[in-house]
């Protein structure tokens, strides 16, 4: 089933003269894990905001085309209704903290308050999300006393606890330690296997290559490519879009190591297998 359908979306922020999104069209199936890449200012965050309705409902501006979430048009829905279906983790976790709550625990509970959940269900979900992000031990701490990475973990936990059907993550692991980001990618992939649709923007290209079902390459408000990681990262012109291929792909390209279909390996395991095969 098509979970997200975007048709010729064009968008311009108020008081600007350039389209931030310039004729964007694509479809995403339920349970897919989509990675979005592209250089700074390509339009990645703007596209994310258009899926949760902040574009155009909050930012206003000039809007054309259509975004359908589960067949329902974003332009004609209100944000609070959409929020139950589509959860978003913002690029800067500091801006996501409500400032209204005294503890990490209350901060996570806040998002669940208007969902009509039973008390037990709420407690279960909060405990699950806090443990998943490995911050249960900080549940009584003031959110502003957390380290940067701990705060980012809290922002992710808050959205996961809401169990949205679609989760949009805008550079969610930029402040996580290496194993922490690996764990978050694994956890999000597990959720996608359970049916959650995932849209994730990241500059961590090796992780995008490893965990995405499909990769969307954006540039100047347009979609340049939207295909499997192997196909996208085997392109010879990535640098023109300000993107560096995964380390493993760069090595295999230098030695011309391709698979049967003519694509370069994009993950550690693929590169390892390819090298071993050649060396016999």
């Amino acid at each position: 089933m098509k979970k997200i359908v975007v048709e010729n979306l064009k968008y311009k922020y108020p008081l600007t003269d350039k389209l931030a999104l310039d004729g964007v069209s694509f479809e995403v199936n339920e349970g897919e894990f989509i990675g979005i890449i592209g250089q700074n200012l390509a339009g990645k965050s703007t596209l994310c905001q258009s899926l949760v309705g902040l574009v155009p409902h909050f930012y206003r501006g000039a809007y054309g085309g259509k975004v359908l979430i589960d067949g329902k048009e974003v332009l004609k829905s209100d944000i609070s209704e959409l929020a139950l279906k589509v959860g978003m983790v913002f690029q800067n976790p500091f801006t996501q903290v409500t400032g209204a709550k005294l503890t990490v625990y209350e901060e996570i509970a806040f998002g669940l308050e208007n969902m009509g959940l039973s008390r037990n269900e709420m407690i279960d979900r909060i405990d699950y999300a806090l443990s998943l992000l490995d911050i249960y031990k900080y549940k009584d701490r003031n959110p502003f006393d957390l380290s940067g990475g701990q705060m980012q973990r809290m922002a992710i936990a808050g959205i996961i606890a809401m169990k949205p059907e679609i989760i949009v993550l805008d550079e969610p692991t930029s402040q996580l330690d290496p194993q922490g980001s690996e764990e978050v990618f694994k956890a999000i992939q597990a959720l996608s296997h359970e049916g959650m649709t995932v849209i994730m923007v990241e500059h961590k290209i090796e992780k995008i290559a490893r965990y995405s079902d499909r990769v969307m390459l954006m540039h100047q408000g347009k979609i340049i490519d939207f295909d499997t990681p192997k196909k996208v990262f085997s392109r010879g012109d990535l640098k023109e879009y300000g993107v560096l291929a995964p380390a493993f792909t760069r090595i295999c390209r230098a030695f011309d190591i391709k698979d049967e279909e003519g694509f370069y390996p994009v993950t550690l395991d693929e590169a390892y297998d390819a090298v071993v095969k050649i060396n016999g």
Binding site: Q39, G148, S174, Q179, H203
Partner: protein, 269 residues
């Protein structure tokens, strides 16, 4: 004696929960990366170096001055810190005013401050937005503005707390060049960062923090050759090093370029 001397440093925010548990370090010239698990105490440590926090026990000497006996305002002339979250640093309505604030504050005259600020903005590639309001900028741009603000003050010691957050490949290369340039000009550069490939490509020395202590301290190649210790600290070797480890190579390669060069020269023989 190094430009920074840290002796048996202990620190806690709240009684009963010690965050830094006896740190001894010396820094002089080498560009240094500080890596470690979330919550290990990295940001707390550099706030202590800048004198924004004071040790519970132990001492920090910055160019011979004990931070306990020196005001943060005095230390600001020698130590610049680019905050992890640019929003903690930025508060003016115009980019140029924002960058000039620090230089003016430590006593540069208007002309000098403006010149240094424009140079710094040029260095981070943000000169053309000097007239914009920082609040209208993206996170990646705000981070670059906060870097320029510190560079314009020309401190002898510059500390970056996660400079590459939100930066794309091109801007990551730019930050790499800035760190190299500052080091070549005799500055001491310390950088907290989670990007292991960036560390391998940019720094001479790596310090691993774990749970308020220093777990490893050495040359970059040496530190990254200990995959097991890194794993125990929630870290990992750079991607290329991971591949070489998996293939069973004995040498530790730190960058893709280094690896490709070495293998290509082998083939040619």
């Amino acid at each position: 004696m190094g430009r920074i001397e840290v002796k048996d440093l202990h620190f806690s925010y709240n009684k009963g929960e010690e965050i830094l548990k006896g740190i001894n370090l010396s820094f002089d010239k080498e560009s240094t990366a500080i890596i470690g698990q979330n919550g290990a105490g990295k940001t707390t440590f550099v706030k202590l170096l800048k004198g924004l926090l004071k040790p519970d026990t132990g001492d920090i000497l910055i160019l011979g001055k004990n931070t306990k006996e020196t005001t943060a305002a005095e230390l600001a002339k020698y130590v610049g810190l680019v905050f992890q979250n640019p929003n903690d640093q930025i508060f003016k309505n115009k980019v140029l005013d924002e960058v000039m604030f620090g230089p003016l504050n430590i006593g540069q005259d208007h002309e000098e401050a403006e010149e240094n600020s424009i140079k710094a903005l040029e260095m981070v590639g943000c000169k053309d937005i000097y007239n914009k309001n920082p609040y209208d900028l993206s996170l990646s741009e705000r981070k670059l503005i906060s870097i320029a603000s510190i560079i314009a003050m020309k401190p002898e010691i510059i500390i970056f707390d996660e400079p590459t957050i939100a930066q794309d490949y091109v801007r990551r290369e730019k930050i790499k060049a800035i760190i190299k340039n500052l080091t070549e000009n005799g500055k001491l550069v310390l950088t907290i960062i989670h990007d292991m490939d960036f560390v391998a490509e940019s720094f001479e020395r790596v310090i691993v923090f774990q749970n308020g202590k220093v777990l490893m301290d050495g040359h970059t190649k040496e530190v990254y050759s200990h995959a097991d210790i890194l794993n125990s600290a929630y870290l990992e070797p750079p991607h290329i090093t991971q591949l070489c480890n998996k293939l069973g190579y004995k040498d530790t390669f730190l960058t893709v370029e280094e690896f490709i060069e070495s293998k290509q020269s082998l083939r040619q023989k």
